[in-house]
């Protein structure tokens, strides 16, 4: 398989990111959509400005951080075009990104508290994250994460791109738990986004599992039926998990509306 060099990867990533941001910002910052969720005018004004500013910030910061990560890898390894170097860049990039959402959430929580006090709005709390755990059971996920990592490390390669999806899964869960002083429409909106991204992300993980498993069955020089069987079993478990979470969506949605 021919892997792209760093610059092709960079241009493609930034292009997809900007397109994604454009679509998601237009959708999320739509005043009619926010009002239809039952949000007060003060919240609508704040969220519109905040979503747009955040998208602009992400659109500028992520390409810069990717370049910084590539620069660090280039200084250490002297090459950024090999597939394993690209993976190192992405992992380093994820580490560089971590402080930003933490600081951002702290700022946002402060602002939400001010808004709740100003407008006299009710804020909601998902007690012990019971609603969130309808679509993300942490103990299962931890077990699944350990199984996937063990499978990839033992049979495929020590750093596989699927690890990014595993990291994102936990990142999304942590992000969903971090919001405070949210009104009901905001919590519902946020949780539904997290649900959609969790499912998409698990879908990508399933793709990687099936891809490596089928490759190990059809590969002329590296054929290994054991890896194919193990990978397929893990893939089936993942598919069952996705189906189970999807089947719980009506209950999840009902609990968020309650």
């Amino acid at each position: 398989m021919q892997y792209p060099n760093f610059w092709i990867f960079y241009v493609a990533t930034v292009g997809i990111l900007w397109l994604f941001l454009l679509v998601i910002t237009a959708y999320r910052a739509s005043s009619s959509r926010l009002r239809s969720r039952g949000m007060k005018e003060e919240y609508v004004q704040f969220l519109r400005k905040d979503i747009t500013t955040r998208s602009l910030g992400i659109g500028i910061a992520i390409p810069i951080l990717l370049l910084v990560a590539a620069g660090i890898v280039w200084l250490i390894a002297g090459d950024i075009h090999q597939p394993e170097r690209l993976l190192s860049i992405v992992l380093l990039f994820l580490i560089l990104v971590i402080p930003f959402p933490i600081l951002d959430t702290m700022q946002l929580n402060k602002k939400y508290k001010e808004l709740a006090l100003e407008t006299g709005s009710e804020t909601v709390v998902d007690v012990s994250y019971k609603i969130l755990h309808l679509v993300f059971t942490p103990t299962w996920e931890l077990l699944a994460t350990l199984l996937y990592v063990a499978f990839f490390v033992a049979f495929i390669e020590p750093f596989h791109v699927a690890f990014i999806h595993l990291l994102l899964l936990w990142f999304l869960y942590a992000a969903a738990r971090s919001g405070k002083y949210l009104t009901q429409p905001m919590l519902k909106d946020g949780y539904v986004y997290v649900f959609v991204f969790l499912i998409l992300n698990q879908g990508f993980l399933l793709y990687h599992l099936l891809n490596v498993s089928i490759h190990r069955l059809t590969c002329e020089h590296c054929s290994d039926p054991t890896v194919f069987v193990l990978g397929t079993v893990l893939g089936a478990l993942l598919a069952v998990k996705i189906a189970y979470y999807l089947s719980r969506y009506p209950r999840f949605s009902q609990a968020l509306s309650g």
């Binding site: 508290k113 006090l117 006299g120 709390v125 007690v127 309650g258």
Partner: protein, 120 residues
Amino acid sequence: MLKINLSSAVPIYEQLFNELRRMIRTGELKPGDSLPPIRSLASQLDVAVNTVARAYQELEAAGLAEGNRRKGSFVKAQGTALSKESARIFKDPILSLVQQGFDKEEIAHLFHANLNQVFD
């Protein structure tokens, strides 16, 4: 889902008590369910630990929860028995009103009008 109004004149511990009581009565919290650890709920709500502890004490005093030093606080069985009974008592007349063509708002209006008559 627990609802709190930060700008309300009602103290937070009282709002918390009322909300937890509502959740127990409506079956959102079932008998034997453990209440969230005090520190964890205080962190979620961003309030003092003592505020949550006081709400839990009130729940225990009202016979809705029981505390266990090692295992934390639990919802008492009595709470749900009451909620199931209440749900059954309310559900039949509501269904009957729906069959007669009343919508949700009209039923809520009727309910409040009657509730006010009883208490005024």
